[in-house]
Symmetry: D2
């Protein structure tokens, strides 16, 4: 961490600051410039509150040099973390496809979709039981009953399942869930992150609506600091000024994350745009960017879906996407795990 101190302040104040820094167990390098004094902090600065330092009257600016995440940092753990979900490996040169319906609706629906996506190449089943909705008047999911249906589909098809948790009160209900999903709106629900970390279960951590890559990795750090090790990051689009799409998928984040962290990262192309006809191009784009996998919403029953154009893609469209992905994987040095 570099602290730029204003020149006009008294030496006594600067000395107080230096004393405080040393009290935190750090060394200080002092460099006097013409218009400012620069303090270079040497040691583990991850516990220093950068906002507190910035707010001091004598401080002109603070720049963090060292990333504040440690467990998630590739610098300290150069090898890729491989997360094993029921025998299916996320990370490294493996490529996995998670698929399933937006919401769990009925036993038949979830089991039928599960078989369909398994056949086309998905290795993990997704499905929403607890649904975060902007409006209290919108369908909130089948909740605990939805979890039971997912577990039946797991039993029936042998696919491991991933589904979203929305409250620390529900953790017990997730004991047979293979991967606990933390949704975008809960990415900084720190009490939930800690409790989920304590379970030591694999976690799929979605990026928040408007959270930076660094904040995202700090949320992974919350889970890891409680003992969780198996974290899969999931990019799902960020909020920008553009109104045509619900979110802007940030694919530049994928190669950057692979430099910054050893954790696997997948992309959810279904939520980014909110338009099913964008799922294929954004899936191929995600593969090109180097992602370790995809999470795609698939709906199996177009006849009963509202009109004949549902939000999710059909099993046939999904199958077509997987076939295209298979052509691309050698280009990005990955192979699909079957």
């Amino acid at each position: 961490m570099i602290i730029i101190v204003k020149k006009e302040h008294e030496e006594k104040q600067i000395n107080n600051l230096i004393k405080w820094i040393k009290g935190q167990g750090l060394e200080v390098d002092i460099s006097n410039g013409q218009h400012s004094t620069i303090l270079g902090l040497v040691g583990d600065t991850s516990k220093i509150d950068i906002d507190l330092v910035r707010s001091l009257d004598i401080v002109e600016n603070v720049k963090r040099i060292q990333e504040p995440f440690k467990c998630a940092n590739r610098k300290f753990h150069p090898d890729d973390t491989i997360v094993d979900i029921g025998g299916h490996k996320f990370g490294g040169d493996n490529f996995q496809i998670i698929a399933g319906p937006c919401s769990v609706e009925t036993e038949k629906q979830i089991i039928d979709v599960a078989w369909a996506v398994k056949k086309a190449g998905a290795t993990v089943l997704r499905g929403g039981a607890y649904k975060p909705r902007t409006s209290p008047y919108a369908f909130q999911g089948l909740r605990e009953a939805g979890l039971q249906l997912l577990l039946k589909a797991k039993e029936e098809t042998g696919m491991p399942i991933v589904t979203e948790i929305m409250s620390v009160n529900h953790i017990d209900q997730f004991k047979d869930v293979d991967v606990i999903q933390i949704g975008a709106r809960d990415m900084q629900n720190f009490e939930l992150l800690k409790e989920v970390g304590k379970t030591k279960k694999p976690v799929l951590l979605k990026r928040g609506l408007a959270n930076t890559i660094q904040e995202w990795l700090m949320s992974a750090e919350y889970i890891m600091s409680e003992g969780g090790k198996d974290i899969i990051l999931c990019e799902r689009g960020i909020r920008t000024f553009e109104p045509y799409t619900r979110n802007t998928l940030d694919l530049s984040a994928i190669p950057l994350l692979k430099e910054l962290t050893h954790l696997p990262v997948v992309v959810d192309p279904s939520h980014a745009s909110g338009l099913s006809r964008l799922v294929k191009p954004l899936s191929l784009a995600s593969v090109g960017s180097g992602a370790h996998g995809l999470m795609i919403e698939v709906h199996n029953d177009p006849k009963n879906a509202l009109c004949d154009g549902a939000q999710s893609i059909t099993p046939d469209q999904f199958d077509d996407i997987v076939k295209s992905i298979d052509v691309m994987l050698p280009l990005v040095d990955k192979h699909r795990d079957l």
Copy 2:
């Protein structure tokens, strides 16, 4: 709600959509244009999932006409809601000042600050017991012990208190807290909103880091749909591309909110910028914008604070701000409640 349907689609599909809409208890006006057909939905469209409709293949665009919030909507409740906190009124032509330290640290600290801000004109005491921090390695607040210290300060000074909740598991601890604060990162923690709503206690609902005014009012709606009525909205800055400030205070939101909702709205100028020297100009700006109050961080013990330039303003600076506010209040048709 207006649904624009693509012209090239078959009548059967459009009829299916119309049938589905009528099944939701709404009337449909149909207007045929040259390049598209426009369906006007008449009735209560707040339960219609706009994203679902938009995702249909035959739909070109959907525009919401009616705001999706009802309990919080001024259109249905034209009179200002007045929230009474220990005899101090928020809303209407009342102006209130909430003040106190960022974090509760010691009994002496919180009681001293409480007396100091009370003397200068604050009517409600704030102080963080549970602290949301980006890093798991940063100080997380005194937690339950901090709540106890706040309650002592309340007993001592007679000031009602407001403090942030971070988990549904802690609700019992808040039974003597006068106003439960929902922080920016929890604005869309829907399970927490519901549980807090069930307590029927007054709530200070901060705007999320990157949430629209409509989403903010929908979060108020979550609380109100569970029976909570006394909600104070709190603008605290939004996330933008500008790196000089931690957040961009959105004061245009204040007069807009006063049109859209009957709920009182206050401003937190301390968190917006992260710079104590911006607190005074942003406080005066907030009063000018028509806010019903302010929430300001005040620290009482500069000698023990890190160096002598703490993040928060001092009681003397706070006193100076209150004096300036008093000159301004008649201009905005408000009076300070004492």
Copy 3:
């Protein structure tokens, strides 16, 4: 266009508004709801100033139904526009690669790079003569002398050239340039758009730093309304809150643009991130998203480049990217034009 009029206003005011709309040559459908009256405008609303209408006291909201762009709108011109640049076709199922150095530096440099990228598969040569720089103290390009060097490289290699214009005063200098580039910062330099449109030359129109897709197409409309027909859109990343990358590449825009407009769209992966090691993953992602081409910065002389890690990729890295693209093109129904 749909205008929602507040219910409480007098009929006389609403009638004035209706009269004014009819005076603009439009029909009006009136629909009376419980809380508001909805006016549906039928006819060509592209000349109606939506901000003016929204600002009226009696107007609650205005929603545009019809896109305001016409010449660029696929609805009115369903067939893909094919832009021919020296025999190389942009649009439809053609895929083109534009490549060259960031700035033109010397005759040898630009000619060497031109031969290198031509050999690897580029069909159009890029190179900056006039350089837009945030700082007046930074290198501003070789300007007119740089244009001359580009023209020499064109003569030598037979490659058509694209380079950026920054002032209406320089238009005469661009008469032998094959494609005039409008940079991101000039996307809404409307006087420049008009003058460039009058030349009828092909234009590569970059998206502005923080401009919506609709504003981008309206800027294309400025050029087209003056007679320019051959416009290639170029996505180059948008400004968001994320500090790790210089810009966030918006690949969701590519499939959306292909629905909204008949114009070809290419992607510039070099400027989006500012990091040369992201160029390959973002290039493959762009191909996956369905782009009609790429514009890539290539530097040929690593030995003389600052240290041995220049901003641009080398001809060898470029060659490797092109080989990967060739594998992907059949997946997106495109073929590389040679």
Copy 4:
């Protein structure tokens, strides 16, 4: 400037970088850490291209310590710049109000508005002759004829005038204009900035739609580097994700700018929201934030305006705003110049 170099790279590469830096006339402090080497650049780093350095393979990160603006930097010019416009002073403890119609329409209109706003307290007349419009089909202003009408109003009322320039080709037409306005969309039209700087005339420089404070000051630097000294900055709202307002007025920028630069800064509350009923609260908020003045759109003829609720406020409403401002000015240590 601080350059963080990755540890794993060879010494030779680091030495090459150090050699290059020294070749730019700078000194280098080297500090070896455990995981990285930090280079501290001492001297005038304003000419160093930070993006170029960041793009080097061996560089992990670059942090600018010194602001890249010099002429506009308060550090080097501690005293407030006072810009004199026809005897009216902008900057220091002076407060000025610029007012007038959005567009110049007729001689009678501009002269009537001029007299009305002068009577109420405005000291400078504004009016759009060249109008930047998103759509080529919208009214583009009276252009040169509009300038003539403004000059007539100046002659008639004695008020100095400010109006927007949109092309380097029009500079001669602005020779009798008192203040040349650079609009938000042209804030980074660098060729225009240079040419306007060469005229040495006072400039009102609006902030770009999505430009940082630093970029804004770098644009002022463009003008100043050509000899322009009298620059008035004008905050007019920035682009965010919030759709309710056209822009988000960034009032935190005002006190920050007063620290960073010696140039005066005014606020345009009319363009920020696009809603006339927000002009008063945002005007008072701007005064509270410490601005040196306001630029307000006033329309004089509600009878002929479209319906009776035009975008701009009326002279009576303007007069009411000025009266409120006068009560506030002593609070912010300013006085209105008459």
